[in-house]
Amino acid sequence: MRRANGLALVGVLLAATACEDARLPSELQGRVYDVRLLAEPSPATRIPGGTVAVTAAGDVVSDVTVTAVRLPGGPAAEYSAYLLDERTGNTGARVTFAPDELGSATVSLSDLGEATTVVIAAGAQAPGALWARFRDLSTGAVAPSADLVLGHFEAEPEPFPYAVAGAGRLGLYERGEFGSNDFRLGGVIENLAVAPPGFTYVAWLHDAERDVWTPLGPLLDESRNAATGLDVLPPPGQPRHLAKLYLNVEASAQLDFRYYTDVRLSLERADHTPATPLSTVFAGTFGAQFLLRRPEEPTGG
């Protein structure tokens, strides 16, 4: 009888341990509405730039008038401009100025007759982020005008112009049941060009129907922390583009992605994010599958 009891106990334990939860090799975790983030058309016309007009008597420059456009930050952002002789390293005095709401500014400089270049910096003492060379360094001849170039003026071995580059794979991830509207906007942006000194990238949600812009905050690094130093140019010989950057934004009562039509990326001052971007350099339009989810009368966002 005791033996039978023992064997029965073993049998019960065997049966109990054999009971396993059924598990599938793969389980659907939700769907992503894909968004490709690509450079805007004609990106060179969307970044800060402008022209300079030079008045000279012979080889002596008497006046340089800088007309800058698309400078981010508006009246709250301070810029500085100065003349430079790249052959000797002599510089004129820095003149500070602020662009208007549309990013335009005009500055006149006249304190360095042998100047070869005008330089603009994003800040009173920041490194050069725009420049225009109006004198031939070998012949000394002065051109009456020149275009402003955006980039790292003080890069080695020579100034490094900025060019819009990179792409992103974004998505609106709907977890759980179809129709739950439990969305998260996320994605990875690769090979972005290093921002000019004093600048950074800012992501925006945009509704083209209502022309509403909502900033999404800074881009994130691989640890999903706010990425900093997007304007730090690697030394010569190393790839001069940024490591992978990420977006990760949860929907909330104040932020319903269904009321938006696209994601944009703009180049902004690192110390100042405006309410709306002057111009954007990357765009990712939400696909038809997602736009079909838009409510009849958007009220949120």
């Binding site: 334990l13 598990r23 975790q29």
Partner: protein
């Protein structure tokens, strides 16, 4: 009152016999005897291991050097499922020729692996009437056989991974007859050099990198994991009466 006096006397007798190394019952195993055990087990892997708890089956053979001390070998096999949610999600994108479809489905993928745990062990066993408390220590190896059909294309050659293991545990045995016992035991199976990424099925070509999975992240990886094994088994001593 008489009962408690009898119990005290009986306990003292058992203790005295233990100290003198004298048999309490003829069921107690003698030097030179073997005890073979078959076990049903439940293994709860460390939380960081990315393995679901699993049923297992085990066997051990112990040789008694003295009435209390035995050495032997043990082996057990389990079939746990991996926790796919510890690894990146896998994506399945539908594309039409005009790229009109813009939806990707995300999956968590799991596999059922075969886990072997084997080695030598030593046991110290006392005897109180039919009850025999015991402690065990062991050392050996663990080997995981992954599901060859589930492996990602980028890692098709992966088949097994293994490492050094040791254990410590204890239990209670009940002699149902002179040669047969039932035993329940609990032990900590410690696996060293454990790399849970070996269990991942995330093909690097198909893994979803836009959305971290899971969120918040899983427990950090551990090189040494502690796994709890509960077992119940039937033992018999060959050559003894049942």
């Amino acid at each position: 009152m008489r009962d408690s006096r009898q119990a005290i006397r009986r306990g003292g007798l058992v203790l005295g016999m233990l100290l003198l190394g004298t048999d309490v019952l003829s069921a107690q195993l003698q030097p030179g005897e073997f005890l073979i055990s078959l076990r049903a087990e439940r293994v709860s892997y460390a939380n960081s291991a990315a393995l679901e708890p699993s049923a297992a089956a085990g066997m051990e053979t112990m040789y008694f050097l003295t009435r209390h001390l035995a050495v032997g070998i043990q082996a057990s096999v389990a079939r746990p499922w991996t926790k796919g949610e510890y690894f990146p999600l896998m994506r399945h994108t539908y594309w039409t020729p005009n790229s009109a479809n813009d939806t990707t489905l995300l999956y968590v993928v799991n596999q059922q692996v075969t886990a072997f745990d084997y080695g030598i062990q030593a046991e110290y066993r006392l005897a109180f009437d039919r009850w025999e408390p015991l402690v065990q220590v062991g050392a050996g190896r663990y080997t995981f056989f992954v599901d060859p059909q589930s492996q990602p294309q980028s890692n098709r050659d992966r088949r097994t991974f293994s490492g050094f293991a040791y254990s410590v545990g204890g239990g209670l045995s009940f002699a149902v007859s002179e040669g047969a016992r039932v035993t329940v035991a609990i032990s900590d199976r410690v696996y060293t050099g454990f790399d849970r990424d070996e269990l991942s099925l995330s093909d690097r070509l198909l893994r979803e990198d836009r959305f971290p999975n899971p969120d918040p992240p899983p427990p950090p990886e551990e090189d040494v994991i502690h796994n709890l094994r509960l077992s119940a088994g039937f033992s018999f001593a060959p050559g003894r009466g049942r």
